[in-house]
C-alpha cells in the first residue's frame, strides 16, 4: 500500500486547454477517499494520471515519495476499476482472477491459493468455473475488483464511477463489499464519482473538483459545514447551498436586505470583487412568530422529502430555500421570518471563502 501525491499536476489534451490544472493532492496510505465532481470536471483524467495511463503535461506523481511519472501502469502496481465492468469474456471467473498473477509469472500454486482466497472474500467461490461473460454487471464489477486486490503488492485501487451501470438494489451491496475490502487489506482507494451520496458514504476524505481544479479536500463534515468555494456548497447537499451575489457596503456585506457584519481583520481582506453570500438550507432558522427578528419572507412552495420539508422562500429581495422539520406547520403563502446565523453564513470573494474564519467554527 502506498501514499500517493500529486505535485503541481496539470494536463491538457489540446494545447492551451487544461483538463486539470495545478493539482496538489495527497492521499495517505490506506485512506478511503473520493474524487467528487460533475461530468467533465477532470476526475477521470486525474485518475488516469495516477494509474499511469496518462502522462501529465506538467507536475509530478509520487508514490511513497518516489517520482513515478515515467513508470507504466503495470510497474506502478495500481489497479483500476472502470465505469463499465471489464472482464475477459472468454475466460471463466477463476482465470479472470488469475489473469494479473499469470501475467506477472506467478507460480501456479500461488495463483491457485490467491484466487481461492479472493473468491472466498468476494463470495464467488461457487462460481469460479462460470464464464465471465454470463455474469450480471454487479458480478462483473466484483470480478474486476477482485483482479485488483488479488495482487499482494498493490499500491492503490482507483475506482472510476464503478456503480454507474449497477442496478440500484445491488449498489448498496457492492459498496459494502468495497468498504470491506478496503478495511481488510488497508488499501488506498480513490473513488471517482459525480454522486455526492456515494462519495460521502464511501470515503473518509473527499476532494471536490470542478472545471479541472481541486476546490476542497476534507471530511464529509468539513465539506458540509465549511465549503471553501460556492461550488462545493452548491454541489454538496440536497438541496445545495443558497448562494447570493453580494456587494460591499462599508463594513457590511449585503445581499438584498440581508447584511453581514465583517469582523475587523476581514475588512482589510475584502476588496468587494465578486462577493457572494452562502447559507445551507438546513442552517436557515425559520420562525413563524410575528414579533421575531429576521427577514420577512413568503413561502412560495413546500416540497416534502419524507423526513423534512423544503421551503422555497421569497422576501427581502432574495429567493432561497430552507429545510425545516417535517412536523413544522408551514404552508405555501404563509409569511415567516428567516435568520441566517452568522457562524453558518459563508462569505466568498472571488469564489474563495473569507468568513467565517476557521476559529469561529471550532469554538
Amino acid at each position: 500500500m502506498a501514499k500517493i501525491e500529486l505535485v503541481n499536476v496539470s494536463h491538457s489534451y489540446t494545447p492551451g486547454e487544461y483538463a486539470v490544472r495545478d493539482i496538489n493532492l495527497i492521499w495517505d496510505d490506506a485512506v478511503s477517499s473520493a474524487l467528487l465532481g460533475p461530468s467533465g470536471c477532470g476526475k477521470t483524467t486525474l485518475l488516469k494520471i495516477i494509474s499511469g495511463l496518462l502522462q501529465p503535461t506538467e507536475g509530478d506523481v509520487l508514490l511513497n515519495g518516489q517520482r513515478v511519472n515515467e513508470l507504466r501502469p503495470k510497474e506502478r502496481n495500481i489497479a483500476q476499476v472502470f465505469q463499465f465492468p471489464v472482464v475477459y469474456e472468454t475466460l471463466n471467473i477463476f482465470n479472470n482472477l488469475a489473469f494479473p498473477l499469470r501475467n506477472r509469472g506467478y507460480p501456479e500454486s500461488i495463483v491457485k491459493e490467491r484466487v481461492r482466497e479472493i473468491a472466498e472474500l468476494l463470495e464467488l467461490t461457487d462460481q469460479l468455473k462460470v464464464n465471465a461473460n454470463s455474469l450480471s454487471a454487479a458480478e462483473k464489477q466484483l470480478v474486476s475488483l477482485g483482479r485488483g486486490v488479488i495482487r499482494e503488492d498493490l499500491s492503490a485501487i482507483l475506482l472510476d464511477e464503478p456503480l454507474t451501470v449497477i442496478d440500484p438494489h445491488q449498489k448498496w451491496q457492492l459498496r459494502r463489499k468495497l468498504k470491506q475490502l478496503q478495511q481488510r487489506f488497508e488499501i488506498t482507494m480513490i473513488y471517482v464519482t459525480h454522486d455526492q451520496h456515494e462519495a460521502l458514504t464511501f470515503a473518509d476524505q473527499v476532494t471536490v473538483m470542478d472545471t479541472g481544479i481541486a476546490l476542497q479536500t476534507g471530511s464529509p463534515q468539513d465539506l458540509h459545514n465549511r465549503p471553501e468555494a460556492p461550488f462545493v456548497g452548491y454541489f454538496i447537499g440536497s438541496p445545495g447551498m443558497n448562494i447570493f451575489p453580494a456587494s460591499l457596503n462599508e463594513n457590511q456585506v449585503q445581499a438584498g436586505d440581508f447584511c453581514y457584519e465583517l469582523v475587523s481583520d476581514l475588512v482589510n481582506q475584502v476588496n468587494g470583487q465578486d462577493l457572494k453570500i452562502g447559507i445551507r438550507p438546513e442552517f436557515v432558522e425559520i420562525s413563524q412568530a410575528k414579533d421575531s427578528t429576521g427577514l420577512e419572507c413568503i413561502v412560495d412552495a413546500v416540497h416534502l422529502t419524507g423526513t423534512s420539508k423544503i421551503l422555497d422562500l421569497v422576501g427581502a429581495g432574495l429567493k432561497f430555500k430552507a429545510r425545516v422539520d417535517e412536523t413544522a406547520n408551514i404552508n405555501a403563502a404563509d409569511t415567516v421570518r428567516a435568520i441566517f446565523p452568522t457562524e453558518k453564513t459563508m462569505i466568498y470573494q472571488n469564489d474563495r471563502l473569507l468568513a467565517p474564519v476557521q476559529q469561529e467554527i471550532l469554538l
Binding site: K48, S51, L53, P73, K74, I78, F82, E89, N103
Partner: protein, 294 residues
C-alpha cells in the same frame, strides 16, 4: 391479435411475391429437374435419384469438391489472419486512416471479370510482371502449363481481391472496442500478445464470424476470375465446382446432372457455413480454457 385476419399480411405480400419468383420457384424447378432425365424435344423421364448417384460418382465432380474445399480453407487461413493483422496496423484516425481505407476499398470495387483480366495481364508469359519477378529469382513461372503455379496464382488473386473485405470488417470491429478494455489489460500487466488473445480477439468474434462466413460462401462459388485467368486449367488444376456446373449445364446441356449437382453444391455450402457459425459463436464461451485443476 389474430394472425389470420391480420391485414398486415398485405404488407408482406410484395416481398413474398418477389422472393417467390426469385427463390422458391427456381429452387423447386431445380429440384424437379434433378429427378428427371431431360432431352430436348422428348418428354422428360423420371429417374429418381439416379442423377445424384451419377454426380457423386463423377471423378470431375469429386476432384472439384476436394479442390474447392482446399481452396476455401486455404484462403480463409490466409485472409482472416492477414486481414486482422492489416487492420491492427492501420492508423486509427486522421487523414492517413481515411486514405488507407479508400485504398483498401479499391479491389472490392473492381468487377470480377476485370479482376480476372488484370491478373491475366499480370501473369502473361511475354509481358507480365509476375513471370518477370519469378524469372529474376531463377524460378520459371508458367501459368498455362504448371498446375501448381496456376493454383497459387488463383489463391493470390483471391487474397488480393478479398482481403480488404476482412480488413474493413476487422477495422470496424477494432474501433468498437472500448479503450477501458485495453487500459484494464495494461493495468493487469498483460503482454501485447495476451492482450490480443484475451481482449482483441474475443471482441472481434462477431465481425470475424461474418468475415469467415462471407469469405467462405463467396470463395466456394468462385467462377468469373478463375474462368478468365486460367479457364480451369492446366488440366483440371483450377477447375472449381461452379466451373464444372457451368460446363455441364451450359456446354453439355445436361440439365438433370446440373440440377442434382446444384442442390448438392447448395447443401454443401449451407452445412459447412452452419458448422462454421456454430463453432465460431461457441469458441471461448465454455470453460475450455485452462480450467482450474485440482
Amino acid at each position: 391479435m389474430k394472425i389470420r385476419d391480420n391485414k398486415a399480411w398485405f404488407f408482406v405480400l410484395p416481398a413474398l411475391l418477389v422472393m417467390g419468383i426469385n427463390a422458391f420457384v427456381p429452387f423447386i424447378t431445380v429440384i424437379n429437374y434433378s429427378v428427371l432425365d431431360i432431352f430436348r424435344g422428348l418428354p422428360a423421364i423420371w429417374v429418381g435419384l439416379e442423377n445424384y448417384q451419377v454426380v457423386l460418382g463423377d471423378n470431375l465432380f469429386r476432384g472439384a469438391v476436394v479442390r474447392q474445399v482446399q481452396f476455401s480453407f486455404l484462403i480463409l487461413l490466409i485472409q482472416i489472419p492477414l486481414g486482422v493483422a492489416i487492420a491492427l496496423a492501420l492508423p486509427k484516425k486522421g487523414w492517413t486512416a481515411t486514405a488507407s481505407l479508400v485504398a483498401l476499398g479499391f479491389p472490392l470495387l473492381i468487377p470480377y471479370n476485370i479482376v480476372g483480366i488484370i491478373w491475366r495481364v499480370f501473369t502473361r508469359a511475354d509481358l507480365g510482371l509476375v513471370p518477370l519477378i519469378f524469372n529474376f529469382f531463377g524460378y520459371e513461372y508458367n501459368l498455362a502449363q504448371n498446375s501448381v503455379d496456376a493454383y497459387w496464382t488463383v489463391v493470390a488473386m483471391d487474397v488480393w481481391h478479398w482481403t480488404s473485405l476482412v480488413v474493413l470488417l476487422a477495422y470496424a470491429g477494432l474501433n468498437a472496442i472500448p479503450d477501458a478494455y485495453y487500459q484494464a489489460a495494461e493495468i493487469d500487466g498483460a503482454s501485447p500478445w495476451r492482450t490480443f488473445l484475451y481482449v482483441t480477439l474475443p471482441r472481434l468474434r462477431s465481425v470475424l464470424t461474418i468475415a469467415v462466413l462471407l469469405r467462405f460462401m463467396d470463395s466456394f462459388r468462385i467462377y468469373t476470375e478463375v474462368f478468365l485467368l486460367t479457364g480451369g486449367g492446366p488440366g483440371t488444376s483450377t477447375t472449381f465446382l461452379s466451373d464444372v456446373l457451368v460446363r455441364k449445364a451450359v456446354i453439355s446441356f445436361d440439365i438433370g446432372y446440373s440440377a442434382a449437382m446444384s442442390l448438392i453444391y447448395f447443401y454443401f455450402i449451407l452445412i459447412i457455413s452452419y458448422i462454421f457459425f456454430l463453432v465460431l459463436t461457441s469458441i471461448g464461451t465454455g470453460d475450455s480454457n485452462q480450467p482450474p485443476s485440482g
